[in-house]
């Protein structure tokens, strides 16, 4: 029997380890490009599991499926229009409530999802224990705990996905319900859409469109404008949204977000047990010192000066070493070649080809390589965002964001890596 292709999309908040999961799943089988016509990165990979060929798309890390950014529009259009076989919703176990806010929106969009409860080790460190079974029951979809960094749970995650796509395990996704005032209006709009615009409902669930219209979503409103009956529905939704705003005194998306968060909070509370109160860890102490109002700045100065020193001392050393090596190589070539080649060819090789390569390697590379190593260290250690925290406002005054101070500093040495880093 030939097993079919599967299309899986990874979706979730930013900073939940989604890319790590993606790398674990696809290792080096990746193609990174852009979404057609958008400046949003699109990463795709293939993997083989139990005879299946699985195509995985890593959707951008987002907090919501609204239209705040291109990332969000790309994601929800992909989910609604392309309808992947399954969506793995990567959820940060240490920030369940915020992540569930996104999960609820995936459910509203009618997606088939499997929850990857990631970073359970980190959550445990913070004293947070999540009842996986209970969470799975509450959402009506499978929940698989993982630790992406070590790859633990990844196999079960894939097996679970297969049991769902093969129909062995049925999903009973939670129906997201709102309070009476919102629910009444959502259902009214939903009914109007189903009767007046059945064409649209083949792509987007009518209820989802109704919620989005009530939230004054401009992208969905734009889609409706293309239809003959669209105007009528839009006017109706507009009227109901205004009513809702009058009752609550807040913009309708805030009212709806509040309720959605209320539900996320309720579920998170039901399935979470807070164990021993977390002690103040070394990490927290370092965090407090490095972002301290006064102490932070000498630390920043030391960090920047040592970065300079490392790059330039190390760079000079490497540069001199390489230069010495190539000078000898050049002499050796001249001596070796001139015995049997005419002078002009030897010059071409030596002063033309070799000198050009040498210049590139000895001048730029010895500075760029240490720079990238140090930048990676700063990023991985988490110091960069702390430094950015200290520098943010000063950098904003000159029209840059806080993190831009690293390339700015580097620009004093060589503008090439500075431009690279700023880009």
């Amino acid at each position: 029997m030939i097993k079919p292709w599967l299309r899986i999309a990874l979706a979730g908040n930013a900073n939940v380890g989604k890319s790590v999961i993606f790398n674990q799943l696809t290792s080096l089988n990746q193609i990174v490009g852009n979404w057609p016509g958008k400046t949003v990165e699109r990463a795709e990979g293939t993997l083989f599991f139990k005879g299946y060929t699985i195509r995985i798309i890593d959707l951008p890390g987002i907090y919501s499926l609204s239209t705040f950014s291109m990332d969000e529009i790309v994601s929800r259009d992909y989910i609604a229009v392309e309808k992947p076989d399954i969506i793995i919703n990567v959820v940060d176990a240490s920030a369940l409530e915020r992540n569930l806010y996104f999960t609820l929106q995936l459910l509203e969009l009618g997606a088939s999802i499997v929850i990857d409860l990631n970073q359970i080790d980190f959550a445990a460190k913070k004293g947070i224990r999540i009842d996986v079974e209970k969470l799975s029951e509450a959402l009506g979809v499978p929940v698989v705990p993982t630790v992406a960094i070590t790859g633990s749970g990844i196999n079960e995650l894939l097996s679970t996905v297969i049991t769902v796509t093969s129909g062995e395990r049925k999903l009973k996704p939670l129906k997201v319900r709102y309070g009476k005032e919102i629910e009444k209006r959502v259902q009214a709009i939903e009914k109007l859409i189903s009767t007046k615009l059945p064409q649209l409902c083949t792509v987007y669930p009518a209820r989802w469109v109704a919620i989005k219209l009530l939230e004054r979503d401009t992208d969905v409103a734009g889609k409706l404008k293309n239809y003959k009956n669209g105007k009528e529905i839009l006017d109706y939704a507009e009227k109901l949204a205004t009513e809702l705003e009058k009752i609550h005194g807040e913009p309708s998306p805030v009212v709806i977000a509040s309720e959605r968060y209320g539900l996320a909070n309720k579920i998170a509370k039901e399935v979470t047990a807070i164990e021993a109160p977390p002690r103040i860890s070394l990490e927290q102490k370092l965090d407090a010192i490095t972002t301290h109002k006064i102490l932070g700045y000498p630390i920043l100065t030391v960090a920047v000066v040592s970065m300079f020193a490392l790059i330039f001392v190390g760079g000079n050393f490497l540069s001199a070493g390489l230069e010495f090596l190539f000078e000898n190589l050049s002499m050796f070539i001249e001596w070796g070649l001139s015995t049997f080649l005419p002078r002009i060819v030897v010059d071409l090789i030596n002063n033309g080809i070799l000198a050009g390569v040498v210049a590139g390697i000895t001048i730029a590379l010895p500075y760029i390589v240490p720079f990238y190593i140090i930048l990676a260290l700063l990023e991985d250690s988490g110091y960069l965002p702390r430094a950015a925290f200290l520098m943010d406002n000063l950098m904003h005054k000159i029209g840059l964001h806080g993190k831009a101070f690293i390339p700015l500093m580097l620009g004093y040495g060589c503008s090439v890596p500075a431009a690279l880093a700023a880009g």
Binding site: Y63, D392, N393
Partner: protein, 100 residues
């Protein structure tokens, strides 16, 4: 602008609800309950999506120097808001508890 003075004329809460102050007027470590946010439709909506919805509990973790970013904890997650954005969020301060 002085960051320390509560209820200075510039911080006066636009909806005039009693006992409500701007988020940036909270002290580090102090908690508040969100009342509302002012600003454009997009900003208020975005804040709500990040979890800053009315009546949610907010803890101010720290304020960046020189009117830098304001770090808060909301719904169990740390969030850094720009000073200007933070000044548009209004909260009702909670009395400090012993566990803080």
């Amino acid at each position: 602008m002085q960051s320390g003075s509560r209820g200075s004329s510039k911080r006066r809460n636009p909806r005039g609800i009693k006992g409500v102050i701007s988020l940036i007027s909270l002290r580090e470590g102090e908690k508040g309950v969100m009342a509302y946010a002012v600003g454009g439709f997009g900003l208020v909506r975005r804040l709500a999506e990040m979890g800053l919805t009315p009546s949610v509990e907010v803890k101010l973790l720290r304020k960046g120097p020189f009117h830098g970013p304001v770090q808060i904890e909301v719904r169990g997650v740390g969030l850094a808001l720009g000073y200007d954005v933070a000044s548009k969020v209004f909260v009702r301060p909670l009395k400090a508890k012993l566990d803080d």
